[in-house]
């Protein structure tokens, strides 16, 4: 897969890069300070924010929903933001993670760790296969191929009624207590479940932060910026992209598994391509290619959905308009725009 020598080489290069935000800055505005705080090195502040987060949103289930979708968008952003591949097939990973987790809890073994791990692993395997089939094509073709293959997965899920419940969805996923070195804890109060999800979100954030700061992360961004040049530097660009796609798929699968536990149910629409579309919208809304942007996007999207759906049944039209305006006027998303603004101020 990835050339070991090239990674070692990148390690030498990588350590010097990405340090531009740590330089001391005078006369910082609030936005600048905020941007520096959350710019990757300060994971601590992100965690601190997540700990108080359920207490500042209207109700705790919404907070849980936001961090689950935020995790999904975070995983998706590895593909779109860092590798520059517009995938329209991530519903397949989210869905297969959700279904695998649910099916294992119902039929095989009522162990949360094992079922979530299986959901994660199944998404990894699926991403490996779909990646193999579509990674060779770039740009628009890649998007359409991932969309088509994900739709294939959807139809398989739809038809395989014995396993997935088909159109009715996978029902009555048991509320298994969390077992931990012989202890078992009930995690199904809203607040407890939030913190249970937060463990996985936190681990993923930590891992992704390490990954994106690592030589691999730098090579990945080099491939996004200029594939040909990265190739002539000796990197196996399609393997790099493939690996990013697999990681991205795995995290999406984990988010899917958590979502299945959260709802005790998996709907067939979790595999449908509009789910992929939703995560694309969240990522773009928050700011693709920024570390924390997807979370903000998921938060804003779900918060708006929550508020608007209480006012009108046609809430989607407002989200659609916001999204279209965002594409037209704020292509770097909410967080990207804030960051750009801070950067501009810093310069002049």
């Amino acid at each position: 897969m990835i050339n070991k020598a090239s990674i070692k080489e990148a390690m030498g290069k990588g350590s010097s890069g990405g340090g531009d935000l740590q330089e001391p800055m005078r006369n910082q505005s609030i936005w600048q300070k905020l941007a520096v705080l959350v710019s990757g090195k300060s994971l601590f502040f992100i965690f601190a924010f997540f700990v108080i987060f359920p207490f500042i949103v209207p109700y705790k289930a919404l907070a849980t929903q936001i961090i689950i979708w935020g995790l999904f968008a975070l995983g998706y952003n590895v593909c779109l933001g860092y590798a520059g591949m517009l995938s329209f097939g991530h519903a397949a990973f989210f869905g297969i993670g959700a279904y695998t987790t649910g099916i294992i809890l119902i039929r095989l073994w009522g162990n949360l760790w094992f079922s979530l791990f299986s959901g994660f692993a199944s998404a990894l395997v699926l991403a490996f296969i779909l990646g193999f089939l579509s990674i060779k094509r770039r740009g628009i073709y890649f998007g359409m191929l991932t969309l088509a293959f994900a739709q294939l997965v959807y139809f398989i899920g739809f038809q395989w009624v014995d396993l997935t419940g088909g159109d009715n969805g996978l029902r009555s996923i048991p509320a298994v207590p969390l077992s931990f070195f012989g202890f078992s804890i009930d995690i199904y109060s809203p607040l407890r479940f939030y913190f249970f999800v937060l463990i996985f979100v936190g681990l993923s954030l930590l891992m992704l932060n390490l990954l994106l700061e690592s030589p691999f992360g730098h090579v990945l961004q080099a491939v996004r910026e200029n594939d040909r040049r990265a190739k002539s530097c000796g990197y196996e660009t399609s393997s790099v992209r493939w690996l990013a796609f697999i990681i991205s798929g795995g995290i999406s699968g984990l988010a899917g598994g958590l979502y299945a536990l959260y709802l005790h149910f998996v709907g067939i629409e979790s595999l449908y391509w509009t789910t992929s579309g939703q995560v694309v919208m969240m990522t773009l809304l928050g700011g693709m290619g920024t570390f924390i942007g997807p979370f903000i996007g998921a938060g804003v999207f779900l918060f708006l959905e929550d508020v608007l759906s209480r006012l009108t049944t046609n809430w989607m039209i407002f989200l659609g308009v916001i999204f279209v305006l965002c594409v037209l006027f704020f292509p770097t998303g909410i967080w990207g725009t804030i960051k750009d603004h801070a950067m501009r101020k810093e310069k002049g």
Binding site: L86, L133, K136, R137, R138, G139, I140, Y141, G143, M144, L145, L147, A148, F149, Q151, L152, F155, I156, F158, Q159, Y272, W273, T274, G277, V280, M281, L284, T313, N314, M316, I317, L319, G320, V321, F323, V324, V327, L328, P331
Partner: protein, 292 residues
């Protein structure tokens, strides 16, 4: 298996395939010239159907609806191009795609606001509701026959337009080398505008033609859009010949599978796509390396 059933199913497949062709042609010329992947194409198809519903409820005449739908949706396409797509010129190729993706949800919601979420009844016109007997053995639904005829005529007209007229010449040149065409003093922006209108009009027409065969509901374009992407990818992006051939292949594949193993009929086109792409990565008639 009855061989008459096979022939009937081939015929049904052809009528479905021709609808794919109509939609894929629109997607393909828009893509070939503007390099815009129009995610709102499915929603335009749906709007075509609803334009038909509205027209028929007002005038009670299918034929008026059939004429109005492509015109209305074509004009709508002109507006969309001018107001939304044009400002994105010069930006990354993904932005128009994302914009039209958002647009389709707005379009779906607008229809939901006026007609609700339920299916709309859409019977075929009186004159085409009786089946047409042939050799005393086959009874073809005459509406499907009509769909095949009229889409063939539209394809022929489009071919004549692209091959024999000056504008068609400019369009063909524009897909090859837009910079050179511009250098010759031709306003490509206007050409893009017109082509987007034509593509949208074709989608609107496919919408109203499909209404008596498939059911009319706000999300009808979502699944159709993906099927059309498959058709365009298999045919080769930007290739009209490819779009026609692969549209017919996909229609037949889907309908013949329905005869043998109905559960697979939705899945088979994706399998065909996977096989074609493994053998010919740029589709049947696609050029390698186009827009990658």
């Amino acid at each position: 298996m009855e061989w008459t059933a096979v022939i009937m199913q081939l015929f049904t497949g052809l009528s479905l395939g021709m609808l794919y062709v109509l939609l894929a042609l629109g997607l393909s010329i828009i893509f070939g010239l503007l390099t815009v992947v129009n995610f709102a194409h499915g929603a335009m198809y749906m709007w075509g159907a609803y334009a038909g519903v509205a027209m028929i409820s007002v005038t009670g005449n299918f034929w008026l609806g059939l004429m109005a739908a492509p015109l209305l949706i074509g004009c709508y396409g002109l507006i969309v191009e001018k107001a939304l797509i044009r400002p994105l010129q010069g930006r990354d190729i993904n932005y128009p795609l994302l914009l039209t993706f958002g647009l389709q949800f707005i379009m779906i919601e607008i229809v939901r606001m006026f007609w609700g979420t339920s299916d709309q009844p859409f019977p075929p016109p009186e004159a085409l509701s009786a089946p047409l007997g042939l050799f005393g053995a086959f009874y073809f639904p005459s509406y499907r026959l009509f769909v095949i005829c009229i889409t063939s005529v539209v394809c022929l007209l489009l071919w004549v337009f692209l091959e024999k007229t000056n504008l068609g010449l400019i369009i063909r040149a524009g897909t090859r080398d837009p910079l050179m065409v511009r250098a010759l003093g031709i306003d490509m922006t206007r050409i893009w505008w017109i082509v987007f209108g034509i593509g949208s009009g074709l989608a609107g027409m496919a919408g109203i033609l499909a209404s008596p065969i498939r059911s009319v509901f706000p999300e009808m374009g979502l699944a159709m859009l993906v099927e059309c992407f498959v058709v365009v990818v298999v045919g080769g992006m930007g290739s009209l010949k490819g779009a026609i051939l692969s549209g017919i292949i996909m229609g037949e594949a889907s309908c013949l599978t329905a005869l043998i193993y109905p559960q697979m009929s939705d899945i088979v086109i994706f399998l065909v796509m996977a096989v074609v792409l493994l053998i010919r990565p740029s589709g049947l008639f696609g050029k390698a390396g186009l827009l990658e």
